[in-house]
């Protein structure tokens, strides 16, 4: 077999496995979210479907699939139908950029890169895809032809513009430190024990990025687009059945991806926290870190009240943006001097 054919074969395997892991995780993440919510709220969460209710998400999926898929008469139908896909396809694409093991790993005598796309402009690509995902929500809000949806879509659009700036600037700090836009390079820069990870020199970047990622994921306390207490369900108001399910699905996929990106950029990706623990395969470490951040998102969601719209904008423009710029300036000076 020629080398390129083998590489293509491995690529196929990697892509299928990675998507399978991403998709396969979502039902369980939804289950965990419900269980955690139960614990936080002194109740038990789902218990009936399967052992300890673990099959609850599959039951929900079956229910959603069997429901009628309504499209409002006055909706802009093609856009309305397209919107959920725009939300979750970029999520999967970002997944391709996240390395889950070293480059050039020796598998059955072949050199295999344990990343689907070893892409030199990976960080830029990630930001670009994140910007595309928000169109899903904006389109959904606009195409539903409903006031609540419209307000939700507009809010999400404005929120995204405000937070993407600080998010991007926070990332520039990491880029300066690692001297690369390639995710694999960034992980390689964090080799060694955990104090080599970038969250220590770039703690401000990490804080900004993490909070902005909550806003980007549209979760409490920044879930203004679908704020139940204000906008009924925001952009989801007119959606029903599996199309609504796709939105939920997309949001959880994005959560997995965002956790993976945070782990990669700030917490050493697939690296073990101590070098003597490196006998554990890299993707296990990545998975553990991803689950940790997913738990953080859940913890925050079930603890905090929601910000008001103007306060959200204040935080984005008056706190995070100056902070990110200051962090960038300090990092740039230190990197150029050292």
């Amino acid at each position: 077999m020629s080398d390129s054919a083998v590489q293509f074969f491995f690529l196929l395997i990697k892509a299928i496995l990675w998507v399978a892991v991403g998709v396969g995780m979502v039902p369980f993440i939804i289950y965990f979210e419900r269980k955690f919510a139960g614990f936080f709220q002194s109740r038990v969460g789902p218990t009936y479907a399967g052992p300890w209710g673990s099959l609850q998400s599959f039951g929900d999926m079956a229910k959603l699939l069997s429901k009628e898929d309504l499209t409002p008469d006055t909706a802009d139908k093609p856009v309305f139908r397209l919107a959920p896909y725009i939300l979750f396809v970029p999520g999967f694409l970002v997944m391709a950029l996240v390395p889950f093991g070293a480059l050039g790993k020796d598998i059955f005598g072949y050199q295999v890169d344990l990343v689907i796309a070893d892409f030199d402009a990976g960080v830029i690509m990630f930001l670009a895809l994140g910007s595309i995902a928000v169109y899903g929500i904006v389109f959904a809000g606009w195409a539903s032809n409903n006031h609540w949806s419209l307000l939700g879509g507009l809010r999400q659009g404005a929120q995204m513009i405000s937070y993407e700036l600080s998010m991007g600037l926070a990332l520039v700090g990491v880029i300066l430190v690692s001297n690369s836009l390639n995710f694999s390079e960034i992980v390689r820069g964090q080799s060694g024990n955990f104090w080599h990870w970038y969250f220590i020199p770039q703690i401000v970047s990490f804080a900004i990025f993490f909070v902005a990622s909550i806003a980007e994921l549209n979760r409490a306390p920044f879930d203004l687009a679908e704020a139940e207490q204000e906008l009924v369900a925001g952009h989801l108001t007119e959606y029903s059945g599996m199309r609504w399910g796709l939105f939920q699905f997309g949001e959880y996929v994005n959560m997995v991806v965002m956790s993976a990106v945070i782990a990669t950029l700030f917490f050493g990706g697939y690296k073990a926290p101590f070098t003597f623990l490196e006998f554990v395969p890299g993707f296990m470490w990545l998975l553990a870190k991803v689950l940790f951040f997913i738990f953080m998102y859940m913890w925050i969601r079930w603890t905090l009240p929601r910000y008001r719209y103007n306060q959200l904008m204040d935080i984005g423009w008056k706190i995070f943006l100056p902070l990110a710029i200051a962090n960038l300036a300090v990092t740039a000076i230190i990197v150029s001097v050292v």
Binding site: A37, L224, Q229, E230, L304, R306
Partner: protein
């Protein structure tokens, strides 16, 4: 004592932790800011109209507020009520005075004992029935338990109005203790129908006082925990401080009573001003705050809950022995246990069930302080066993109509929170 002395010159109190360096804006400043906001948005702007309720998932009950929005800011509000109208006042005209008690449960179903109590107080005033001391104490205890359960539920819902989901269920867990007490007391958890004309339907069960004391000792600790949780929450503070301003003058103009009025610096509380039941025999403070915003309404209710616990403790210690139902054949429905043994009681029962109580001609208005505000009952009697006309002046009705000045100039995100802060129950509004 005149309750309407309000002190606008009172220093602005700063309760906000961590914001001590920054003085809170005065009520005048906040009102001016709100007016400026409205000025800015009212103009040639195109507005969109949305209907908050009756099918909005977070609107309290089936209240409708048709809201014109300029962007995120509420420009105009038109309240709509009547979706839960059951004709309670008309029903009263077709029932004897005894038979109407269970209907009053359905007025404000979250504090149904208070509704029973207000009605019975009015009827007793009309009939001139002397309520025995033990019954007065039991009523006071039950009323304060009812206030606690109402405020705890309110607290959970109020925090949820600002987006925190978890707190709601924590509050429900603690409300359960109070509902259990009510269940021991009268068998019902939500619609108690515990009051009777001339007293209460059952004596305190064995062990009840002990259990009740435990709850009254335990709840203040829980309340302190809640308060820590909420006051340390920057997001809640940012959202609740300075919104939904409703000053004492506004409250008087719109007939707003209860915690909302007390949060505007008016120490008006009928329990103090026009005592009924055993309130003149217990020692308690009227909770007052001065900033008239959503956050101060929260503080007032927290204080009230502490005072309620203290009132319950005092009443339990001092409950006298004796009958818990007045011995008054003309007006009081006798206890079932006597009806089956005593000929006179049987006759009395027969007369009350088939004919009704003997009521003098005349009219009466009696108001008491229920958890949501002042609840007045107005009865016109033509001397028959049924009221000729009965009107219930429930607090929620007046609170629900004051929504336009509260909402306009605020942001859509705060609409539900402000509406929740004045504590409206639709069963109470629509009757």
């Amino acid at each position: 004592m005149s309750g309407s002395t309000h002190d606008t010159a009172h220093p602005q109190q700063d309760h906000v932790h961590g914001a001590a360096a920054k003085p809170r804006p005065t009520i005048e400043e906040l009102k001016a800011r709100k007016a400026r906001t409205r000025q800015r948005v009212v103009g040639d702007h195109e507005t969109i109209t949305v209907s908050m309720g009756p099918q909005h998932p977070s609107m309290h009950g089936v209240y409708q507020a048709v809201v014109d929005l300029d962007g995120e800011i509420v420009v105009r509000t038109r309240p709509g009520i009547g979706n839960l109208h059951r004709g309670v006042e008309k029903l009263a005209e077709h029932r004897t005075y005894h038979q109407f008690i269970p209907v009053t449960d359905r007025l404000d179903y979250l504090s149904s004992f208070a509704m029973n109590h207000g009605y019975c107080e009015a009827v007793e005033t009309l009939m001139g029935v002397e309520v025995p001391a033990r019954a007065r104490y039991i009523r006071t205890i039950a009323h304060e338990l009812c206030r606690l359960s109402n405020h705890i539920l309110w607290l959970g819902v109020h925090i949820m109005d600002f987006g925190a989901q978890t707190f709601f269920l924590i509050c429900f867990r603690d409300r359960e203790y109070i509902l259990d007490l009510f269940e021991m007391l009268c068998g019902a958890r939500l619609t108690h129908s515990y009051c009777r004309i001339g007293g209460v339907s059952k004596d305190l069960p064995d062990e009840w006082a002990h259990r009740c004391l435990q709850v009254a000792d335990f709840l203040p600790k829980r309340l302190a925990e809640y308060e820590r949780l909420i006051k340390a929450n920057r997001i809640f503070l940012k959202r609740a401080v300075g919104i939904g301003i409703f000053t004492a003058d506004d409250c008087h103009a719109w007939r707003i009573t209860g915690p909302t009025l007390r949060s505007a610096g008016v120490a008006r509380d009928l329990r103090k001003d026009e005592p009924y039941a055993a309130y003149d025999e217990v020692d308690f403070e009227v909770a007052v705050e001065y900033n008239a915003d959503v956050y101060d309404r929260f503080l007032v209710r927290m204080k009230e809950m502490r005072e309620s616990c203290s009132i319950i403790r005092q009443c339990l210690e001092n409950t006298p022995d004796g009958p818990y139902l007045a011995d008054d054949a003309a007006h009081v429905l006798p206890l079932k246990k006597y009806v089956l043994r005593d000929a006179a009681a049987m006759v009395q029962d027969f007369v009350h069930v088939f004919k009704g109580p003997q009521v003098p001609k005349g009219e009466v208005y009696r108001a008491i302080e229920v958890p949501k505000g002042e609840m007045g009952v107005y009865i016109v009697s033509d001397g028959g066993p049924k009221p000729q006309r009965l009107h219930v002046a429930t607090p929620s009705f007046y609170h629900g109509q004051a929504v336009p000045p509260l909402f306009e100039g605020e942001m859509i995100a705060d609409v539900v929170g402000i509406f929740g802060s004045i504590d409206v129950v639709l069963g109470d509004t629509d009757r």
